[in-house]
Symmetry: C2
């Protein structure tokens, strides 16, 4: 069966323990957000569909008077998840407004391109720093258990550090070019 990508995110997130929609959203924001996001507007309707398809089962688990539904994966849901995991990945997309601006920067003075690179650098260095703070938590959980969330987190850190570094190198290149130009 071919489900929507968000469906698999949900199945994955509840594969170890049942969770509420709210919890799924928080987890996504803490973990897969940087390479696969999901909003409430996707999660709740998708949970309903998965429930109707029998891949997920709702369990009422109120906290006090507040209603709360934990969503558990069914045997069939687990089969779907595993089937998907074993198929080759299809989607590799990136939308990077910074690179797009840089691409067209020839229509402006080089100084403006340098500023774009500065913004990109700041953004990527900041993201890398924030992800690095999550590393100790992910390392703990890994021990004896699942090594993959940590592995993926490290990919995120490395990627953002590589990108920040690339921006710095390109800024330097623009500075050098400007200096050469100036000394002619």
């Amino acid at each position: 069966m071919e489900l929507s990508p968000t469906a698999y995110v949900i199945l994955g997130m509840i594969s170890r323990e049942p969770r509420s929609g709210y919890e799924i959203k928080s987890l996504v924001d803490e973990t897969t957000r940087f390479f696969w996001a999901a909003s409430y507007g996707q999660i709740y309707p998708e949970l309903k569909r998965l429930s109707e398809a029998g891949l997920v089962e709702g369990v009422e688990a109120p906290r006090g008077d507040r209603k709360r539904t934990l969503h558990a994966i069914t045997a069939e849901g687990e089969r779907e998840l595993k089937d998907w995991l074993r198929r080759a990945p299809q989607t590799f997309e990136m939308r990077e407004e910074g690179l797009l601006k840089l691409f067209f920067s020839g229509v402006l003075p080089p100084k403006d391109a340098a500023e774009t690179l500065g913004w990109m650098h700041e953004q990527r260095a900041g993201t890398a720093a924030r992800l690095r703070e999550l590393e100790p938590g992910a390392s703990e959980k890994r021990d004896g258990g699942d090594p993959f969330p940590l592995m993926v987190l490290q990919a995120g850190i490395e990627f953002n550090e590589w990108f920040a570094d690339w921006c710095e190198r390109m800024e330097a290149r623009l500075r050098d070019a400007a200096a050469t130009e100036g000394s002619k």
Copy 2:
């Protein structure tokens, strides 16, 4: 003014010379595709909107009997493009199904995760190779002219090479873990 992201891709693509919708699409596919894509379903309607807004002007330029409209940027369109270029980039998104699968790979035997990494590696190495083939063309155009398309292409190459390398290192890590496990 706040235009759709695709609008800026179009304005950028026609900023140096007028182009047909078909040409814009081909250019996008050859250049910005890996960090900002666009389909006909976006390009033609957007051209109409930009035309109505006075940022783009259509010029009839038939080839033989075949109708053809070249779209030229207007003075106002150029102002919009430059304004946008000078604002800080907002959008940084990635959708990487491979990393998503890897993230959930704890529910399967490690061998399956290694296979996912293998696919990811193949895909990224292939993309890097294809981009590297475009480098000579981009280098030529740069001389005396616009250095930014080449710069961005090199970012694409470096990124895909970094990613391919990361996949290899993680595959090795899984192999080592399996060996340690086996020798206990």
